[in-house]
Symmetry: C2
């Protein structure tokens, strides 16, 4: 087979076809985002030589583009949680994360994440990552202040609040505005750079893995300055190359629901290369149909006083859930149109933000007028609002269990925002499927047998977060950094081949 045909990520190269090693190291890491950086630090601190290969000309990955909220807690609470008056329990965190992940939850991985979450917080603090001991009370998608802690999921919403005591676990870096990601990666990069055992090669594409006669991973092929080079990795290769949202063919094939989105969140390198490299040696790619997909309908928090309806005039979810959960409910509903119904007062708040870029679909001095403007069947919205208003008066949402704090009667005049996917609203999305790994980061095959010498972390692996309807902000960077550490540590502890 020609070299050209071989050097694609979906076909591994055999050791016998390797003429010489152009690089040799203990641990080779593909990708220098949050996962790759933390993997490198852990591996180096455990005594291994490390090379990171990064496609871009600088570190960062998708972590640098994010808010870098980090989902941490349990164990009595992090320093920030405790300072803000929250005593978090590991069991509450575990229960919440298990519910979030749904039936496809990886219990061992979530258990490991929760048990070691306080230690992870402390590890990050030791790196120099700053968190302010202050609580941001407002319902927000991201924290635009420098506060250290906020609710970033559906912890306080039904049904989660019936099973796990709510506690805020979104840790926000000590910096104003949506600038956590760049700061976080600056700190990680500085930590990488000051470690002699780690070297970084930028503008380098990972092409394919190299396997020995026992099917162990012993290196990889890279392309650098238009040359193919071989890298020997005595302790293995850690794939931290992100997800696949920039690969339209893969998204269509694996995660068609994400096609409803219009803004892929990630960096141009998120083309699924890492996942394909794993698949090429029998690694099982799992949960590939899932992703984060969201209409970020708040801020302002006051939109939560409104109700979401479909084109039958029906409510179908509690409106106080995390935005991706509400959006999943939209995607699961039949119908062609979705509207958020607000009073004029709350529309006034909304207009100032309009973070989701929704347009006005209709207004009405009466509910009947609004029904007409929206083309709804007569009386359907009237019925929905009558029921809702009765429930508001009684202080209990009997139908969808929105928390009492968000129940306020909807009195006309009313405004309907068009929340229909495909009609202008902003719908960020990213993939949540990847290589199946043990909590150690070791990649496993379809029978969950370890593929010797292969590790994955961050979005290249399938981590603790598995569904849009259970997503909470901070779970991605939390998982990337934590799983990167696990993989780095495990690789560094393995036999040199």
């Amino acid at each position: 087979m020609s070299d050209q045909a071989r050097t694609n990520p979906s076909r591994a190269r055999h050791l016998k076809d390797v003429e010489r090693w152009d690089r040799e190291t203990d641990v080779a890491i593909v990708g220098f985002g949050g996962a790759g950086g933390c993997a490198a630090i852990e591996a180096a601190d455990a005594g291994s030589d490390v090379i990171i290969f990064e496609l871009a000309s600088a570190s960062g990955g998708s972590t640098a583009m994010s808010s870098a909220e980090i989902y941490m807690g349990g164990n009595g609470g992090t320093r920030v949680q405790r300072a803000c008056g929250f005593e978090d329990s590991t069991e509450d965190m575990f229960t919440y994360m298990m519910m979030s992940a749904g039936p496809q939850a990886d219990e061992a991985k979530i258990r490991n994440y929760c048990d070691n979450s306080l230690a992870h917080f402390e590890w990050l603090c030791d790196l120099g990552v700053p968190f302010k001991d202050s609580f941001h009370e407002q319902r927000a998608i991201m924290c635009l202040t420098d506060d250290g802690l906020l609710y970033t999921g559906s912890e306080k919403a039904y049904p989660f609040n019936r099973h796990a005591r709510p506690c805020p676990r979104g840790h926000n870096l000590y910096i104003k505005g949506d600038n956590g990601g760049p700061l976080f990666m600056k700190i990680v990069t500085e930590n990488v750079e000051k470690r002699d055992r780690i070297s970084v090669e930028y503008e380098t594409r990972a092409l394919t893995l190299i396997t020995d006669d026992d099917d162990a991973i012993v290196g990889l092929v890279i392309r650098q300055h238009q040359q193919e080079l071989t890298v020997r990795a005595r302790q293995g290769v850690i794939l931290c190359a992100g997800g696949f949202n920039m690969n339209e063919e893969m998204v269509t094939k694996y995660a068609p629901k994400l096609l409803a989105g219009n803004e892929p969140i990630g960096n141009p390198g998120d083309t699924g290369t890492g996942i394909m490299m794993g698949m090429s040696v029998g690694g099982a790619a799992i949960n590939m149909h899932e992703g984060f997909i969201s209409i970020p309908y708040y801020p302002p928090a006051s939109i939560t006083y409104g109700i979401l309806i479909n084109d039958k005039g029906q409510r179908f979810t509690n409106e106080d859930v995390y935005h991706a959960r509400l959006t999943q409910a939209v995607l699961d509903q039949p119908g062609d149109r979705f509207y958020f119904i607000l009073t004029v007062d709350h529309y006034g708040d909304y207009e100032k933000f309009n973070f989701m870029a929704a347009s006005i679909a209709g207004t009405g001095e009466t509910v009947e007028e609004l029904e007409k403007e929206l083309g709804l069947r007569k009386s359907v919205l009237e019925h929905t609002i009558a029921i809702y208003n009765e429930d508001c008066e009684a202080g209990e949402d009997t139908q969808f269990h929105k928390a009492p704090e968000w129940l306020q009667k909807l009195e006309p005049p009313l405004v309907a925002l068009d929340l229909t996917p495909g009609r202008g609203v902003f719908i960020p999305w990213f993939t949540l499927g990847g290589l199946d790994t043990l909590p150690t980061g070791e990649v496993v095959d379809a029978q969950r047998q370890v593929i010797t010498g292969l590790y994955a972390a961050g979005r290249t692996a399938c981590g603790v977060v598995r569904r849009a309807e259970g997503y909470s902000s901070g779970m991605s960077v939390g998982d990337a950094t934590f799983s990167g550490r696990m993989a780095g540590r495990q690789a560094a502890s393995s036999t040199r081949r």
Copy 2:
């Protein structure tokens, strides 16, 4: 690595580790169900020697356990369609199947299936498969008469009927009762047995594939009479080993939604072995999250006059769709309970069948009484029925577009059947994910490059049908037999290695 560790389906064996060939043939086929049988016949008729390896002690697979309805049409109509007065168009069939498969449709595969559907019908007739030229008019899940043709999907229902002219395409074998599967496999088996080029080895487990230095598939390892044997396959291996519904770990990991089912449809060999063998050499397993899952709520057809509601008292689908489509709508709805509301008259019809095993959740001399019995919030069902009855009078379901023929006012007394998954109703299910293949049956990797010498068909491959909400009866055996033929033909035309 020890032999024991190697001989599992998720790790391939290298040719260098093969000491001798215990069997040699042109084409080796794993599994003797509908796909494997048809693959063998095509390959043999094209001049190749074939061995089929079957785990069970007889042929049959899941095809023999099915009704063996076969979804065929287009091209002006099959002999049966034309005799029954239906002139089918390839474009209508193609449009319907593309809508059925949804965004993850494989257009090339569906195009090939539709274009060659009449030829497939004729090929089956030539084998001796009998179809009576008669039309079964009743809405039915399966045909218990010997009629040759019936509607087996959502062709006449919204939204399909707005895009493709409805035509019945479910072809039922000329035999009374639900006995199509055994008859079909008897005929296929006779056709296999009378071909000298084909031999069959029963009670034989396929363990793993064998790859050469170029990563081509050149054979497989089998276990027979407690011995491991090697099989050389000069033209390749065709995997027709079924899906993975009998592998609980795989179902949880890949297709969690199917856990709502309670009756896996398939044979004990459906453990995903074929899919794992493909994955072991870099084959891409796609659409793994999807499956057929259904509450078979009809017969009797008259249940269609009722309405399906959730525990908010809301309708959420047209009730005249195929049962798996309605069930997908149930699974996508929030809420804990689902009820089918019938008049006492229609309940009388229902009681005679109760094919889905639903119990009565409540009854009411008035709607208000039924609301109370079901624990619904006051007035919600009243509103739903008022709207529905108005629509029935006007002859148009303005909300969910159930066809006018099924619109009859719901007049109390009323009966509510409990359709809630997990509360007694029968929920058959099977997987729809598998190895990605070209229309030729060639297995491809994550970059859609062909893996030389590897083919897949039937449920081991990801075929033309991709979603519960688009499923129609007859698509599975249709796809299995057709894709088996494509793979058999392609393998037989390939170079002997």
